[in-house]
Amino acid sequence: MSERNSIIGKIDWVTVLIYLALVIIGWFSIFSAKYDEMHPSIFDLSQVYGKQLIWIGASLLIGFVILLIDAKFFNAFSLWFYIFFLVALLAVLVYGKATKGATSWIEFGPIKFQPSEFAKMATALALAGYLDRLDVDLQKRKDQIVAAVLILIPMALVLLQNDTGSAIVFVSFIFVLYREGFPGAGWAMTAGATAILLFVCTLLWSQKVMYIILGSLLVLSVVYYIVTKKKGIVKMLAVFAFMFVFVFSVDYAFHKVLQQHQQNRILVMLGKLDDPQGVGYNVHQSKIAIGSGGFTGKGFLQGTQTKYDFVPEQHTDFIFCTVGEEGGFVGTAVVVLLYVALLVRIIILAERQRSTFSRVYGYAIAGILFVHVAINIGMTIGLVPVIGIPLPFLSYGGSSMLAFTMMLAIFVKQDANRLNIL
């Protein structure tokens, strides 16, 4: 059997088919969103849908090449990938081109390229490569610091580009750290969730109400500890102290740390601010578009909301609107289902890996994909503030299409090769 045949037999077709389904749904949605009577062909290369086809073709080609490369290559060169994209991120800061407030593009002649999309994959590779080393133990302080720094450097560089959305994606590495037993990762996840809850509640109800709620909980807990004579009352009190300080500082942090447009986006999501001229407009129109789809949708190319320029960024960050308007609840539910299936599949595959490298990498990309999907879809239906990051495999854009495809292809290759690892 030739190398090629053997690879076709070993790759996980569930993953690949879900991937292909999403890419095709995306391409048709972009066509529908940007449909132009004067250019009625989906293959018209002068239009964004034609261009997306080029990106899809290029992505499939690169994905195929990755499947043919020796699986060990990615582990061996993980650090070099990482360094390469760190340099690219630095280059963006120096030579980059600003779009919509963020400086995240770099131009090579006619080709624009967004290194931050690739930096996520490179970071996943570097972290996997590092944890794969035999002398690395996440219980050791030094190794914990190295792992954290590997994640924080690209995150900081992306943040310096003023691309908050892409920086938030790096938070997704908490999942893989948790899985690999990084001390405190589970605690951090709980604390993070609690912090978001306290933050939202404080903005919704005011600090006074939160003090009353926390105070009541504190009294109940103290009574409970005393009655049951449980140990650790000091720890419990410390946790409450932190929560009080947090609530106390929410107002300050909200007004002083966040930029005005970020504040507005959060207030709009909470329904506290009616700003339909600015951010509110996007979300309002996006919800109208999705909501007007009904159960079965208006049908392919029959959407009105997404075509008349009502929804901004409809072919990039708001592509999910087109799915919702033309595919209805059936369409959106299928897309959500496909994403959940893909994420769960990646976790299952990751768990069956023999090498730490493959497992860590699998968990890392599952986290990255999850954060992208959760934030993007959540934003279009008003559950998450507006954060401009693409919907993987669906949104228009060469950099994100290439980066997500490469990210997934590398994992599929590792998985296909898992039996060769002793």
Partner: protein, 622 residues
Amino acid sequence: MRTKNNNLSTRKLLIIGIFIAVGVAFVMKLFALQVVDRDYKEKADNNALRFVTQYPARGKVFDRNGELLVFNEAVYDLMVVPKQLSDAIRKDTLNPFDTLMFCRLLEIDKESFIERMNKAKNESMLKPSPFMTQVSKENYAHIAEVLYRFPGFYFQTRTVRHYPNSIAAHTLGDIGEISKTELDKDKEGEGYYRQGDYIGKSGIEKSYEKELRGVKGLKVMMVDVHNREMGSYMDGALDKEPVAGKDIYLGMDAELQAYGERLMVGKIGSIVAVEPSTGQILAFVTSPTYDPNLLVGRERGKHYQELKDDPMKPLINRAISGTYPPGSTFKTVVGLIAMQSGSITPATCFHCSGQGSLPIKCTHSHGSSPDFANAIMNSCNPYFYESFKATINNPKFGGIKEGYQYWKDMTYKMGLGHKFDTDIPAERSGNIPSREYYDKMYGGQWNSVTIRSLGIGQGEVLVTPLQLANIAAIIANEGYYYPPHLIKCFGDTTAIPEVMTTKMDPGIDPKHVRVMKRGLRTVFSGPHGTARRYELKDIPQCGKTGTAQNPHGNYHSNFIAFAPEENPKIAIAVIIENGGYGATWAAPIASLMIEKYIRGYTVREDLEKRIMEGRISYKNER
């Protein structure tokens, strides 16, 4: 990494749980949004929106006394949204679009219809573009009645400028439809304008475009398939009120400006009058001029072409774009620099042999060795050539080139050889040659004799009337000036740009300027003063004539002046191209302007008549 404990793999359950929980939450929310809540469906039905731009009223312009110079008149632009039209044609076959009737209403032919439509389509299928701008009131009334039959079209009200006094065309400037170049430039920066918008093209309309235009507003209307407005979208939540433009008060005195324009009829040249204590321009006359109302409305293009083709070039603002040899008016500059550098004193005498003087002969008759006062009164050429020579040869500079550099720097500080860059567009720099220029010209071998013409304001030196008026203001103020500018203040409390309120000091001791001032007074009052014929008993005037050789024919008649001698209210420069002696045309015009401004009326009727009726013939006149 060593896999120490395998029970870590149970952690996958929490992660998978989170993924599924979020997925379920999304599906539930989507179900609520898409299936349960019918509200969004209705909203979408009403969602054919029209974004109507609300144009703010452009700011008005007043003169220094509050007289209205520019205001707005309403006109109607017919707009089209190509996509709405093509949708309607496709869907609504029962009620076909009657192109023929439409064309007849607008008084255009079918080709013009197609051409306009294609232009709109190229701009945007979805956004409104102007189909026909400034539709007449009569046509507007006819078309508005039947507009419901033409989906995709609607009217937008806009205003055009009107100039009640028909004066100061170049200063006030004009507005016109934004050009492709201007649009592209705007897209790089602010991104405020759309195709079809109006923008200041010249004059203060251009320099104060941002203040005058205000901020566009927006009205979002819902329209049904028959192109009828169904009311405000989201109760007007998206609407934005336009912000009216700021009014502007100019330093200009409308009456003085109109008087100046009357005096200049039949002559080519310029009058610039400034208020010395502020730098505000009181009169900014260029001749020939035109009626600013010509460049308004649909005939604008035609009139513009006519003015452009006129051989007398009425579109040029000679007050700032004309560069002239200053002639003897420049002796003020030469004299001040010579005194400031210590190269001469008021008592210094230079020998003059009249017509026989070398290397520059004298055209005036006076005593043979005049002192400074006599020299300025009689405009003695050898005296100022010698003063110029004494300045650049002054041993304290260590060399003639260094001396010349000092001299050039001083002229720069007095506002010559560069633009003031206040609020007057299309200003030119004039010319004071650099050291390097002469090095190149004479291969490094030059001295005070080579460049002697500079001493009497001839040769390479070129000034604009505005720069010359500023020289008069410097002497009037006994040493300082404010950069000359058009604006007095805005209609609100906005401060005018700092560059116009910054006092400039050329570094000439007031005591030298006072000597000069006394000298310029004798030009009117002295027995041999070159402008003695225009002396007024009750208004002490100071001035200096200039008669400048030029390559275009007869001498240019130049004059600078200010009055009254103490606390001057007005400083002025007049240049009449090919007018002959400075005392023939420029001096009486300046004197009449001074009288008109200070007194409010004039008493020298004969003189006024002679000037107003005077015509100078020019080679290029039709």
